[in-house]
Amino acid sequence: MKLFGEKGVERLLTGIAFSAISALLLIALFIFSEGLPFIMRYGLRGFLFSSEWQPQAGQFGIFPMIVATLWVTLGAIAIGAPLGVAGAVFLTEFMPRPVMRAVKPTIELLAGIPSVVYGFIGVMVLAPLIRSTFGGPGLSLLAASIILGVMILPTVISISIDAIMAVPQSYREGSLALGATTWQTVRMVTVPAARSGIIASIILAMGRAVGETMAVIMVAGNAVKLPGSALDSVRTLTANIALEMGYATGTHRQALFATGVVLFVVVMALNSIAGLAIRQKAGRR
């Protein structure tokens, strides 16, 4: 290690410290340089708000995919957020600490299940169930929402538990001392105090739902149209990229990178909001 002097090491580390931000900029640069010229040429309004996606005919409107992404994400949140937050509250406030300490890592472990496995189970179990119960093709908005809803559960539970645990014990003791039940304490004291952390967990989960690709391709059916009901097949922004990338050339390919630009912007916005929500409460360490 005499290779670098003390100063050399510091300079080297300073350089390395920029690796993550350089990676981010490099990614943004390449996605935008492929996608933005297309958006400029085609027109942002036509790209974002037209419903015609006919690459062979030179029509590239991603409105149905934006709407689909929105619905699938909201559906996933509608399923995953209540379940996840309820689980977090139950485990922290109504269960003995050792139980929580055992269950939380188990749930976090499950966050590692590859998304293709979720997608496969969606195709094998969920889609046939939806088809036989409600009709329609089974591969649908509903199927995608449910699969994503389950996928985001570990994220919601884990971060919500951290947020609820961070609420000072004295808050609870004060409330209980005033004669409130545990539930009243949870509802009126603990959860409101942990609100920003819980919201952050939901926004991060939204980011994951918006960005998920393989599981969605497998269960959503990928039809390009504005969904009329939850049983309709839909295509999300991510699915559009992954489905057609292999076959796309020229303008079509640029349009897919432009789809990537839209996705990038949406996810960045969500992450920034989540970051703000967390920071607002915790302050910087």
């Binding site: 290690m1 993550a20 990676a23 990614i27 976090e108």
Partner: protein, 278 residues
């Protein structure tokens, strides 16, 4: 009539407990479903023989190799960068606008969907740098993807090293780098390994970013410039294309076991770090 708090309490417990139970059973169902169907197929022979006929028959050996080599390459690239960043942030600088920018960048990078990493890797490594669909393209792309995880966990671990250790080291006349190298990094090692393991776990399970950068060749790679197929990609192709449901389940079981054991090791190490801190 007023509902007694005692009753709402009971109802709330029932509802919350039910939701928790549902959550746990859903997640457990997924594991059980995959293992139940996959374990009968899984054997050492399945893991270590070559596939035949696109994976319709035979084992998954080349994809096992892919799932070992690709994550290893990714962490080999990302670990020095991640640890370096974390050490810089904690030991070499004070909180400033600069550190905030670096942290914000790290958070943003962590949130980027894997399909975007795939697109980027394809246009940058595969096309622009002419690396082709290869282990090196895939490894570099995955390295970008797991960098934030390694930075964050290392930062946590480095912060968990007690102040006193540093003070003793400095008072003995050690330089900053000597302190980092001899005192801080050894003590933070379990935490660093946790981050690395989490990165490995994520790399093993990744599909979207890998399929666009490392390709999907089923042949055993002979160098890092060859294309490879990981277990996750193999499973995706087997299941999607209906090549062999049986082998798909077998691959899925191998995949899930691999990811869960890697993550398990990571959490076990993380617990040790946490225990020391408190």
């Amino acid at each position: 009539m007023r509902i007694l708090p005692k009753h709402t309490q009971r109802a709330a417990i029932a509802a919350l407990g039910g939701a928790t139970l549902l959550t746990l059973s859903l997640l457990v169902f997924i594991i059980v479903f995959v293992l139940e169907k996959g374990l009968p197929v899984l054997s050492l022979r399945f893991l270590f023989t070559n596939p035949q006929d696109m994976g319709r028959a035979g084992g998954i050996f080349p994809t096992l190799v892919g799932s070992v080599v690709l994550p290893l390459l990714a962490v080999a690239i990302a670990t020095p960068l991640g640890v370096g960043t974390a050490v810089y942030l904690t030991e070499y600088t004070r909180e400033s606008r600069l550190t905030r920018v670096i942290r914000f960048g790290t958070d943003c990078l962590a949130g980027i969907p894997s399909i975007i990493f795939g697109l980027f890797g394809f246009i940058f490594f595969v096309t622009t740098l002419r690396m082709g669909w290869s282990i090196i393209s895939g490894g570099l792309t995955l390295a970008f993807m797991i960098l934030p995880t390694i930075i964050r966990t290392t930062e946590e671990a480095v912060r968990a090293v007690p102040r006193a250790y540093r003070e003793v080291s400095y008072s003995l006349g050690a330089t900053r780098w000597q302190t980092v190298r001899r005192v801080i990094l050894p003590n933070a090692l379990p935490g660093i390994v946790t981050g690395v393991m989490l990165g490995v776990g994520r790399s093993i399970g990744e599909t979207a970013a890998v399929i666009f950068t490392a390709g999907s060749s089923l042949r055993l790679p002979s160098s890092v410039f060859d294309s490879t197929r990981t277990m996750a990609v193999h499973f995706y192709i087997l299941a999607r294309e209906g090549i062999s449901t049986e082998n798909a389940y077998g691959t899925a079981a191998a995949l899930v076991i691999a990811v869960l054991s890697v993550n398990l090791i990571a959490y076990w190490l993380m617990n040790r770090v946490m225990a020391r801190r408190s």
